[in-house]
Subunit: 184 residues, 4 copies
């Protein structure tokens, strides 16, 4: 594992536990077992380290969603498959999820960076846009609909991480919740 990744991993761990302001660079260097100066060889400054972590995290999320089995035969099944893929990513990567939630809105991440990372939602936006056009989904502005649907995954993941055990049935129930919400 190279130093850059060690640093990012340590940062994710520490920042979700203590928060940005309570995580000094020295603490990161200690946890990552590198010298303080080494962090600066890989990341210009603390803010940029945070943004790099944000970018990496969003990328992982995007890739997770593409693992959904979407065969185009049954729209409802595809919708639920995507929903569950994202849910599972958030469930399996608790720290990444926490980090994204915590810093998604925060002023630490520059607007441009956020904007740029919106690209990962594009496949979803397209999928939902299709659903609207084909009459499967409510005809609401597609970006609004995307946000609303994404919100249901986030809520489900929060519940999961609050240790309310979610059996497979319950997960399907929540996918159903998200489907009924959006369907025409």
């Amino acid at each position: 594992m190279n130093k850059r990744e060690l640093i990012l991993e340590a940062t994710l761990d520490l920042i979700t536990e203590h928060g940005f302001h309570a995580t000094p660079m020295s603490m990161i260097s200690k946890k990552a077992k590198v010298a303080a100066g080494t962090i600066y060889h890989h990341f210009e400054n603390k803010e940029i380290l945070l943004e790099a972590l944000y970018t990496e995290s969003k990328g992982k999320m995007g890739r997770a969603m593409q693992l959904a089995t979407v065969n185009g035969e049954n729209y409802e099944a595809d919708y639920k498959s995507i929903w569950i893929s994202l849910f599972i990513f958030y469930a399996d990567n608790s720290k990444t999820f926490q980090f994204l939630e915590q810093y998604a809105q925060s002023p630490f991440i520059r607007k441009e960076t956020k904007e740029e990372q919106r690209k990962h939602y594009q496949p979803i936006i397209d999928f939902l846009g299709q659903g609207i056009r084909k009459g499967y989904l409510k005809s609401i502005d597609v970006e609004i609909l995307t946000e609303m649907v994404h919100g249901t995954v986030v809520s489900a993941a929060k519940i999961f991480h609050q240790q309310k055990e979610l059996s497979k049935i319950a997960i399907n129930e929540l996918a159903q919740f998200a489907w009924q919400a959006a369907k025409a």
Copy 2:
């Protein structure tokens, strides 16, 4: 307006704009037009100031929800009325909303404080529990359902604050989204 409130207001303004770590006490004291030391007469330290703001904000949210017109005749109408009341509170109080979202999960707020403020959701939990028992709503664990429904309001408020204009019709559509999601 007494000093305590001036301080809380200044803190809300600055913290939503710059974040916790980027808001020095000196900045708060300046904005609130009190001496730095005065803050410490009212709040033991910076963390406790933040927690006080959290508690006050949650209280306001709780009170807003109780303004909904719930007459018990039409469950769906009552459900939507509560949903819209909370949405309007989040829409009208952008900073309080941002603050709650940003710090709801954050490690700055102690677990106990968060736990204590859950009380404000109790009326909603009761209302939804009733809906489940009477067969109006899906029979999902009521706390899970509450979280999911609350999530839809939060998503709607986020959309609103991203300046996507939401006409009254659109709001009703989102309330409808939330209703269909939950209904049996």
Copy 3:
């Protein structure tokens, strides 16, 4: 008990326990059960409060020494009587002793104040001067001799307060130590 005395007493207690810099005026006002402002009606500022305590303490010490039974018949007996009187004062007034030792040399007390309080040693200086002239004591500069003899009382008192139990016999032994040291 009037407020002035309450304040001085609280100051003595706190300052010997925590030291000057670690004893805020607020702590004194709390312990003395008076308002912060009240201290300033009786003492111009913190330094003057400390000096007042020093002056009072030195006065008490002076009065204690005058309780010695000095009848002029037996110089050695008189010498030991004075020595023991001062020792007993230091033993019985542990906080005053600690305070005087701690602040005797300290830069918190102005030179003039220290100088002024030397008057309490005058009777001793006279008594020892007499002893030198009459050939009972070593012919060393009287002020030097006074300091040396006083030093033996201070050492004895330190031992006492370190809880090494000092029986009456041991005290007499130490008085004897002090006598042999000085005698011609």
Copy 4:
């Protein structure tokens, strides 16, 4: 000269002149010509800096006493040699002496630290214990005797630093004072 020593030296100078509470860290960093933060690389906090200074000072004192010429042939001569060695150390190192006197009793130094530094007196305790056993000295508890004898050196040093010129003869007189005090 390394930074740690520069800091300790500056601290000794300033603290004896102004006292602990009246010596801000900024003043020390200025005098030592290091950055404020550098002090914290070498000493955890202000209190620990003080304790380090105390430990170093006691060590120097211990080493000074071991320079006495003790040949074991003449107990009185050896006793006086040790006495004078310590006196000379206190005389030559006025700031160290002042510091030790001022902080020996003070609540700034933890009990354990004080206790630990008692080791430097062990050779003296042994030497005096021997003197008692061989009948040269009064049979008083050896620790008490040590304290009393040390007290005479301290008093002599105080006199010296009050600028009362002490000629070599006078010093021998005071050593004689200390010898007569303790001898059997």
